[in-house]
């Protein structure tokens, strides 16, 4: 049956946002919030890319005096910090925020206001870093500012504090988003979606969220310890007072290694979804893929010392971390096999999203293999802190996360906008980006093997490094040009793209059941799921259940393992409190760069904001000492 107009109009009335600016500030619609995250992150990706081009230009000529060392050091620090903290992790969270309810046939996330809060707080972190840059307090010690260099003795001023506090913003935002995603996936699945019938994409987002929850506290703790060393003279990292600089590295990398998998694991979800649809058959090796993601999630926590092989830690420990770091290639390699096998097994077609899958396979595997090389504690002593590692990290992050993200963008663009992106411009962007990236970054492996260290603003003539640096610059320029074509395609298609309809690709999962773009309430009824590919039922109507209220916001809560319906949960309406709370928290975070008293002082407005947020919307008491007088 097609849902009747009255039903849809009631849903609209309940679920739509207030109009205008107030609606913009109070929305708890996961799709609008995710769109903001994505637009902000893409803008930052562009800015970070410009910084990169500036650095590449500087390094194209030996002994170049165009950039001062201070400016270059700020550039690589801002580039790395932006890409890792403000782009990669947030954009993966945003994809989850946008897609998870749609793929579950749900009306919204588990905690709608928490989603809004996490965006505003993330945006606070963006402003903290980039306004600091505008007023020349840019952090300049890299994206992992080791003490003692980042301590009070060697970095007076506030640059390092800005860096540390920006991290606090983004980590609290990420933790909030992760609790939201995990709770949604665990408790809001459609009837019949047992864990065994949960698509790989949802497994990936669930695991990434749990990894975030377990690893982010480490970086929150260590950046707070650094700020407190700088602000109130604690001695965590002062050797003379019993502190230890290596402690910073352990804590940082205990977070830092899982973080790169937090970025990669969602990408495995994108790849799985795209391949399934275009291979026109259920993914091969579903169980293997899920087990692989689980193993990667667990193993990722046992590898962090491989970032510290040059520190001089005991050899036996280094051997263990070598073996563990190589071991993670097993689940990753099996994933590659399953994806390739799925392509092999079907009448697979290759529109632009699948081209990005191929780009991912060709590029990420190089990054994974250079990772196997650096996993060796002994060989890493030659490779780490050189351009080899710069090549490796970009191959895995760009090849392993960005290429799948671009594919996912093209794949779900019609769902978000109701229009298709241009295939022709999409293919051109793909060729320029993938070709340009490989041309730009492959030579860096060789530069590292020729002895070029990383984080150097220039290098002597006569080392033989000029030509490869120039090739790297050329490749980077081509890749950025490709990025411009990609963005132009997205913008042009928004207004002029061919209308796509609800399901242009014939997708297998539930997000394709709703209209394109989905209305505020996502889907008219609650689908009942009987397989891993619910939309592939020969075009028959989807089995569904009605009965969720349409005179108040309500979502269905189901059991964790079986997806059996449990109860109907009230879903939060638009509210200004997430923004107010984020402003209060931001004020406290920024003020605490300057004085520790900001923390107790800041607690009061935060407490007030949270009180407003959680104050229940219920009638006054009718009994008891505070009963409402009639």
């Amino acid at each position: 049956m097609t849902p009747d107009r009255a039903h849809l109009e009631r849903l609209d009335r309940i679920w739509r946002d207030p109009p205008g600016l107030w609606g913009f500030l109070t929305t708890v619609d996961h799709k609008r919030i995710a769109a903001r995250y994505i637009v902000t992150a893409l803008l930052l990706m562009f800015l970070a890319g410009m910084l990169a081009l500036d650095m590449r230009w500087q390094l194209s000529v030996p002994e170049n005096t165009r950039m001062t060392p201070q400016l270059f050091n700020e550039s690589f620090s801002l580039h790395g910090s932006t890409m890792l903290f403000l782009v990669s992790v947030p954009i993966m969270e945003a994809m989850a925020l946008w897609l998870v309810p749609l793929m579950l046939g749900a009306r919204n996330m588990a905690f709608p206001r928490l989603g809004a809060f996490s965006f505003w707080l993330y945006f606070g972190g963006v402003l903290t870093l980039w306004i600091a840059h505008a007023i020349d307090v840019t952090p300049d010690l890299g994206w992992f500012e080791y003490p003692p260099l980042s301590g009070p003795a060697y970095s007076p001023g506030h640059r390092a504090d800005i860096w540390a506090q920006m991290i606090t913003f983004t980590e609290v935002a990420a933790l909030a988003a992760s609790v939201n995603v995990a709770a949604t996936i665990l408790k809001m699945r459609p009837p019949g979606m047992t864990l065994a019938r949960m698509p790989v994409f949802l497994w990936a987002m669930l695991i990434a969220s749990i990894m975030t929850i377990l690893s982010m506290p480490a970086i929150m703790l260590v950046t707070s310890m650094l700020i407190s060393d700088r602000l109130v003279s604690t001695q965590f990292f002062s050797v003379a007072a019993g502190g230890d600089n290596v402690l910073f590295q352990h804590l940082f990398w205990f977070f830092g290694h899982p973080e790169v998998y937090i970025i990669f694991v969602p990408a495995t979800g994108f790849i799985s979804s795209i391949i399934e649809t275009f291979s026109r058959r259920p993914l091969f090796g579903h169980s293997a893929l899920v087990l692989a993601i689980l193993s990667i999630g667990a193993l990722a926590f046992g590898l962090w010392v491989h970032h510290m092989f040059a520190v001089g830690l005991p050899r036996l420990g280094n051997d263990f971390y070598t073996a563990a770091s190589m071991a993670i290639a097993v689940p990753a390699g099996l994933q590659i096999f399953c994806w390739t096998a799925s392509i092999w097994a079907g009448p697979t077609t290759f529109p632009t999203p699948m081209l990005w899958v191929l780009g991912f396979l060709a590029t990420f595997v190089i990054g994974g293999l250079s990772g196997v090389m650096t996993a060796s504690a002994a060989l890493d002593l030659q490779l780490t802190d050189t351009y080899f590692i710069v090549a490796h990290l970009h191959y895995v992050l760009v090849g392993g996360a960005m290429f799948p993200l671009f594919g996912a963008f093209c794949y779900w663009y019609p769902k978000a906008t109701g229009r298709l992106m241009s295939e022709r411009w999409g293919r051109l962007a793909f060729a320029l980006i993938v070709g340009g990236f490989n041309l730009g970054f492959f030579p860096m492996h060789i530069l590292g093997l020729m002895g070029m260290p990383r984080r150097v603003y220039t290098y002597p003539a006569g080392m033989g490094w000029e030509t490869l640096n120039q090739v790297a610059t050329a490749g980077s320029v081509i890749a950025v040009a490709g990025g411009m074509v990609f963005v132009a395609n997205a913008l042009w298609s928004y207004w002029r793209g061919k209308p796509s309809g609800a399901d242009p690709w014939g997708g297998s999962t539930l997000e394709w059941a709703s209209a394109s773009p989905p209305p505020a309430w996502n889907i008219a009824f609650t689908p009942v799921v009987e397989s891993l590919t619910p939309m592939w039922n020969d075009g028959r109507p989807l089995k569904a259940m009605d009965g969720l209220e349409n005179d108040r916001r309500e979502v269905l809560i189901t059991s964790v393992t079986g997806g059996g319906p449990l109860y109907r949960q009230k879903s939060a309406a638009p509210s200004i409190w997430p923004l107010v709370a984020a402003l209060a928290v931001s004020a406290m975070f920024i003020a605490s760069i300057f004085t520790p008293w900001a923390i107790p002082a800041g607690a009061l407005p935060i407490g007030a904001a949270l009180t407003g947020w959680f104050w229940p919307n219920r009638p006054r008491a009718k009994i008891g000492p505070f009963e409402a007088k009639p």
Binding site: M1, T2, P3, A110, F111, A182, I213, L214, P217, A218, M220, M225, S228, S233, T234, Q235, F236, S238, G242, L247, L251, P499, S500, G501, A502, D503, P504, A513, A515, A524, F525, P527, V528, P541, L542, K543, A544, M545, D546, G547, L556, I557, V560, L566, Y567, R568, Q569, A603, L610, W615, P616, R618, P619, R620, A621, K622, I623, G624, P625, F626
Partner: protein, 205 residues
Amino acid sequence: MTGPRDFEIVGSLANLPASANGPRHLVWWGNIGFMVIEGAGFALAAAVYLYLMTQAPAWPPAGDSLPGLLWSGVFTAGLLLSQIPNLWVLRCARAKNLAGVRWGTLAMAVIALLLLVPRCFEFAHLGVPWYHDAYGSVIWMLLVLHTVHVVTDWGDTVVLAAWLFTHEVGDDQFADVEDNSNYWTFVVLCWLPVYVLIYWAPRSL
């Protein structure tokens, strides 16, 4: 060009209850999520303490006083005893006992506030200022982290008590009282290893 998929209605959700409590309840999971985050934070802070301890030639370092046992003992005893009213409030919430949750939550708010008194004295008797050495920094860090825990839960409890008295209390609010009570249990449990680390580890070495 396809429109949204048509449906075949096979059942209704209208007869499902409109609330739940315990692990069936969605918000319970959010509460657990925050406990996991904070538990991970405490575990890492404990790891920092143990790391610095194993690096140091002496613990506490030569010249540093041991932290006082009196006020920490008072606090710990008080915290453990507070579990009695706390678990009683939990039972009242599950039994949907209105008067019980109202007065019990208020009592917990008062108890938490009172416990902050020995906590203040604990800070005064830690024996080493936070800026003196890494040992001082880490014991202050552990105590500050736990105190923030207690203070935020106290704030939560005060607000909870206020609207329990001023508003109609429904199933969702009883579930909130349960979650708040579980959180206090978490605060108590987190304190035990932190207490051992701050007050007993330096004495046992």
